[in-house]
Structures are given as C-alpha cells and as structure tokens.
C-alpha cells in the first residue's frame, strides 16, 4: 500500500452561493470538481487540485476559494510538510521529483536588499513626461578597430546588432513547453513593442516566420527544428548551453506533448520524446564552442549576432570570460530562480547562484580583462518588476530577459504544474480545448501593457536619478546601495552600503 499523502489544497465551496452550474467542472482539466446528479450538488476532489484558480476566477457566483490545508504533520522546523510529502512520493514511486517554474524556496534575494538613488537639489531630476528619455538599446559587439578607407572615411564594420526599443526581451520558452497561442501572444507583443521574444529550442512554427525581425531563434543540443531558413529567420541566433532552473541538466519534452504541430515544428517523429541532453556532445571546450559560434556566423553570412546562454553557476565569471572569447556577440546568463516547463525539483531548488551576484561578478571580470565591450550581457532568472530590471542594468546588464513575468501577464497563476501539461489557462499545455482559452489578442494586449508600464517606470526612475539615457544607467553602481548585507556581499555586487 502506498504511503498516504494528504492533499496540499482544499477546495472550499460556499453551499449558499453555489448554483451547481458546473462551470468549475468544465473548467478544471485536473478534474477536481464533479457533479452528483442524485443530490444535484457539486463535489470537490482536493487531491486533484493544483491551486491554479481557474475555477475560482470563472465561478459566476464567486462561491469558490482554494485554501492551503491546515492538516499537518507534527510541526517540525527541520522536516517540513513539503519535505515529508516529497519523501513519501519518492518512496511510493522511486522517481526523480519533477516540478516546474522557478525556485520557490526562501533564499536571499539581493534585488530586495538593493535601494536606488535619486537626485536632490544639486543634480536636478528630469521629468520624463516633458523631456525625451532614451531607452533604445543595441546588443552586440561594440569594440571594433576603426578602419578608414582611402579617402579617410570611417568604414562601416560594426558587427550585427539587435536593436531594441528598450533593454528588455522575452526569454526562451519552446513551442511544446508552452502553447501555440502563448507563442503567438509573445511574438505579436514583441513586434508591437519593438523588442524580441525567443523561440526556445522547439523550432519556429511556420506561422510565426513573419515576426522574424523580433524573434531570437535558439539552437540547443537536440537541434530541434533547425534548418537554414530557421537560422536566417530571426534577429539573432542563441546557443543554449544552460538554463538557470536546471544547470547541468538538459531538456526533455515527453512524447505525449511532442505531438502534431509541436512535433512537426521540432521536425521529430510524432509522439517520440524530444531529448536535448545538457551537454552539446560536440562541445567540450571554449574552442569547441567557438566552432559552433562561427559555424552559425558562416551559415547566416555574418548577418546575425550570436548569443550564448549559460546558467549562473559558481565559476560563472571565468566561464563568461571564455564565452566572450569564443566569438559570441552576446552572453545571456540565467539565474537560479529562472523558470522552467519541467525540471527535477532538487536541481531547480539547489543548483546555481542568484543572478544578481552572477551578473555583478561577470561584469566586473569582463571589465577587469578589458573585454567588456566585446560582448553584450543579457540576464534573466526572475526579473519580477521594473525595479529588478533597473537594478540589473545598474549592476552592468545591457538588457534583461523576462519569462515568468510574461507568463503571469498571459494569465498564469504560478501553480507550478506546467510539467503535467494540463494548464487550465491555455499556456503550458498542448490540449486544443485548453489552448484556445488563451486568446492571443488579449494575451498580446496584456504583454504590451506590462512592458509599456515597466518602460514608463524605467523612465521615471532614470529621470529621478537625473539620467536621460539608459546608456548612462548601465553599470552605474553609484545609483545602488545595499541594505543589510555583509561586506563580502557588497564587494561581489560592487556597491556600497546605504548611508555610505
């Protein structure tokens, strides 16, 4: 007999308000609601609830709420309820614990302990409603020798750049991990905003080639959906070496999700597992990485910047230095709080380092070595708000990647059940009846609203600092102060303590 695991959530239904319309039953792909014809009343199955709030949101009489169960093991600060539950599950199944989205553990967040500066009296602030504020960003190699032609004119030899209206992009989420409508929303929003979204490693659906100028196409170890037209379709090509949620671990789209259009876009057999192991089996050194970088440059006729994405791990500064020397134009670093469509829980929750520290140490190392302008730096891994974004730029990032935030704008309620494939919000699922719940027009609008709001907040904060161009915010650590940090933490971040 299996060890008993008590449900984590309880569905609370107000009998007074419930009209037994069965909307909750229809809406729940997890089948947590049922209808008892004999009594004419609704039933709940707590063990199936993932707390995604779909039923709560759509209940016409607001008769529902989901609460965390008060049933508990004997309180124990060392053996938490979650720890015991997970152990029982493993004892029952012998399986590797699988979960999704970003690390939920209460580990230190350095963004929350950094405060921003503003001008007072001597260096006047700027009103962004009245004054022009520049947020345009170019990503790519800037350090190039100046070459003059026979007439003494400078030749145009700047390597290819990504042009963004602001230093923000939607990070890689594959078609397969998320739905067609989610991709459509991201692609349209990126185009409307003048930024980029990222295909992830699942290829580019043929309907989305038209958004190419606002698309970053990804090349991962499994090489899904890659061909010459795909490489030429985007604004840049990203080589995925690692992911913040699962450093050292590859991707694995189960066969039951790799079906129909998803399999066609990945160019793999219908229903087969789509496996992309952590290592590229042809990359064992920076020299090997250089070979992949240059093969992509050659295959795209040197027209696309090449991004190399790595996870933030202990030696990230040394690794980034190597990546900068591999010929890559842009390095993307994903912190340990970054999301995922599925990752082993233990890896997600214990491997990698915070992006704040990784970013600061990489930026410092590249400057020390005099190669900072050889490469642009893009960071992601739980940029939750415009101020996380602003602090990242002031710590040295050229741009940020957001994904979890973008999914929230699409209606995600962060129930962290993407790996089950039954997303009731039509985002992390391939079931047609669920996918159509996400209206790409509404999704696009929400994404555009979110990013425009953040852009305005960026301008407000910059204006407050007396800065009118995001270029002048980049790496501007004088705009940052730490609170409640040790000297070592401050040293890694390269900032002073508040009050100093």
């Amino acid at each position: 007999m299996d060890l008993y695991v008590h449900p984590e959530f309880e569905i609370v239904r107000s009998e007074k308000k419930c009209i037994a319309c069965r909307a909750c039953e229809r809406q729940c792909a997890n089948c947590a609601h049922g209808y008892d014809a004999a009594s004419g009343s609704m039933e709940s199955y707590d063990e199936k609830c993932v707390n995604c709030h779909r039923c709560v949101t759509l209940c016409p009489t607001k008769a529902l709420k989901i609460v965390q169960t008060q049933h508990t093991f004997r309180p124990n600060a060392n053996w938490s309820n979650d720890t015991i539950r997970e152990l029982y599950l493993q004892a029952n199944t012998g399986g590797v614990l699988l979960s999704s989205m970003g690390n939920p553990r209460p580990l230190p967040n350095y963004f929350d302990r950094i405060l921003l500066n503003a001008s007072q009296v001597t260096n006047p602030s700027i009103d962004p409603l009245r004054e022009p504020m520049e947020t345009r960003t170019y990503l790519g190699k800037k350090a190039i020798p100046l070459v003059r032609d026979a007439n003494g004119r400078l030749t145009e030899n700047l390597p290819p750049q990504i042009t963004l209206t602001m230093p923000l992009m939607f990070s890689a989420m594959s078609y397969g991990s998320i739905s067609y409508n989610a991709h459509a929303s991201l692609a349209r929003a990126a185009t409307a905003l003048g930024i980029c979204y990222n295909t992830g490693e699942g290829g580019l659906h043929r309907d989305f080639y038209k958004y190419g100028p606002n698309t970053i196409v990804q090349v991962a170890s499994g090489r899904f959906g890659i061909h010459g037209d795909y490489l030429m379709a985007g604004a840049a090509v990203e080589i995925k070496m690692g992911q913040g949620a699962k450093p050292g671990i590859g991707g694995h789209l189960p066969g039951k999700k790799n079906i129909g259009e998803v399999a066609r876009t990945r160019m793999t057999p219908d229903g087969s597992d789509a496996i992309s192991p952590a290592p590229h089996h042809d990359i064992y050194s920076i020299e090997d990485l250089r070979q992949l970088v240059y093969s992509l440059k050659e295959a795209t006729g040197n027209t696309k910047p090449i991004i190399v994405k790595i996870a933030a791990v202990h030696n990230v500064a040394a690794i980034a230095s190597g990546v900068a020397r591999s010929g890559a134009d842009i390095i993307a670093i994903d912190g340990f709080r970054g999301g995922t469509g599925a990752a082993p829980t233990r890896i997600r929750d214990n491997v990698g380092i915070p992006i704040e520290l990784a970013l600061a140490s990489v930026d410092a190392r590249l400057r020390e070595e005099g190669i900072r302008d050889d490469i642009s730096l893009v960071v992601g891994g739980s940029i939750r708000s415009s101020t996380d974004w602003i602090k990242a730029i002031a710590l040295g990032a050229d741009a940020c990647y957001i994904a979890t935030g973008a999914l929230l704008a699409l209606g995600c309620h962060l129930c962290r059940s993407c790996h089950i494939g039954l997303c009731n919000w039509g985002i992390a699922t391939q079931r047609p009846d669920l996918v159509k719940r996400l209206n790409p027009e509404v999704g696009t609008e929400h994404l555009v609203n979110l990013v425009k709001a953040w852009q305005h907040e960026l301008k407000e904060v910059m204006g407050g600092m007396g800065i009118n161009s995001v270029e002048a915010l980049r790496g501007n650590r004088l705009m940052l102060r730490g609170v409640g940090m040790t000297q070592e933490e401050l040293d890694v971040l390269g900032i002073k303590h508040a009050g100093v």
Partner: protein, 248 residues
C-alpha cells in the same frame, strides 16, 4: 561552368571567412576548391551549391547544408562534418573525424573510410525528411547516441575479421531511427535502450538504395554488400525515460 577557387594562393591558406564569403555568392553553381588547407565551415548553410574539394576541409564541413547541395571531398574530412545538415549530399573519399552528422535532419553523408567518435548522434527525421549516414569502414564509440530518426549504416569494409565495426556505447539513449551494421559481430554490450535483430528482407528495402549509392560513389562491390548479413538496431521504446519521474 565550374568556378575554381585556390584555397591556398601563393601557398598561403585562405581564411575561412573569405572562402565562405566567396562560396555564398556562388549558390546555384558548381565550385572546385583546390589546395584546401583545413578551412572550416565550408558551404555552411548554403542551398543548391555543388562543391568539389581537393585537399582536407576543416571542421563543420557542410554544417546546416541545405537541399540541392552536394559536396565531394577528395581526401579526408575533419570533425563535425554535416552538423545539423538538412539536405543535400556529402561524399568523402576518405575518412571523417568525430561527430559526423550531429543533429542531421535530412540529406546523405557517404564516407568511404572510417568515422570517428559520436557519428550520427541526435539524428532526427520527420515525415519524408530522413537523414542517412553511410560509413564504409569502422565507426568509433557512441555511434548513434540519442538517435531520434534517420538511417545509419556501417559497412566495416577492411575491418579486422571477427571484430565489431564499431566502438562502445553505441545507441545510448536511442529513441528513434535505425542502424544497420554489416557482418556477424556486434560489440559485447549494447545499452538497454537498443533492440537488436538480424535485418530481414523488408528491412533491407530501406538499406538497398543506400548500398547502391555507396557503391556508385566509391566503386564498392554491390553484390557483395547486398548479400552480406546485417544487424538492425532500433530503439526499445520511443519514450525511454517515461518512468524516470515522480510527478506531483
């Protein structure tokens, strides 16, 4: 008309980027590269080009090669030949290095001699697009690792009698595609994901056109190849890792 490019004018090796730039302007045409001295990425991503190479091309020959292209090498090739190629043909009158046909998703690679480690790994197929890799001699370790589609053939010509024509760890993680291995000997241990049987007449209908292509390219004795026994290696399941996880 054939355009001839001297890849080592005045005895100085041309940089790969200069060679690549020239080749990209010659799409749709026939090109002969003389004195090839290890230039990498030759014809990477180019569709509909015919390239003949005298000398030794460098790594990533024909990477992302497009449909309608053909590359013939009069010599050996180095690593990562045909990386992620999606169409066309690469014919090597010699041996090739490691990771030939990595992530290949269409087209044909014919190798007269041996292939190094990790040949044909991550090969993928979809619908009518089925990549094919034929190795005349011996293949190194990790042949067909993570193979998800396509056909790999190892003929073992000139291989030592009684020895398997491939190294260890063949087909680790294989979850699609097929490998034909000529002869009577396989490595002693194959991973659990790989199922082995003798190729029957129906299986051989897939194999025969590749043998004919190999024989036409290199003048091998087709009748002898056709009458040889072959092992067929296929995945035990297309979902090898389904039971690995505890979902909650």
């Amino acid at each position: 008309m054939i355009t001839t490019i001297d890849a080592a004018p005045q005895g100085q090796s041309m940089h790969f980027s200069a060679l690549g730039e020239q080749l990209r302007t010659l799409a749709g045409q026939s090109v002969k590269i003389e004195h090839c001295l290890g230039q990498r990425y030759i014809a990477a991503g180019i569709k509909d080009i015919r390239v003949e190479i005298e000398g030794i091309p460098g790594n990533a020959l024909g990477a992302y090669l497009g449909a309608g292209s053909s590359i013939t090498v009069r010599g050996n090739a180095q690593d990562a030949t045909g990386d992620t190629m999606s169409g066309g043909t690469i014919t090597i009158h010699g041996s090739t290095g490691d990771a030939a046909g990595y992530g290949m998703r269409g087209g044909v690679i014919l190798v007269e001699g041996n292939a190094g480690y990790r040949a044909g790994i991550h090969m993928k197929e979809y619908g009518e697009t089925c990549p094919k890799l034929v190795i005349g001699g011996r293949a190194g370790d990790f042949l067909g690792e993570y193979q998800a589609g396509g056909i790999i053939v190892v003929l073992g010509l000139g291989n030592q009698a009684g020895a398997a024509p491939l190294g260890r760890f063949c087909g680790t993680g294989q979850h699609g595609g097929r490998m034909f291995i000529r002869g009577e000997v396989l490595p002693p241990e194959l991973p659990a994901q790989v199922a082995v049987r003798k190729a029957d007449a129906a299986d051989r209908t897939l194999l025969q056109p590749l043998l004919a292509q190999f024989s036409a390219a290199f003048g091998a004795d087709l009748a002898a190849l056709e009458s040889s026994p072959y092992f067929l290696l296929t995945p035990n399941s297309s979902n090898p890792y389904t039971d690995l996880y505890a979902i909650y």
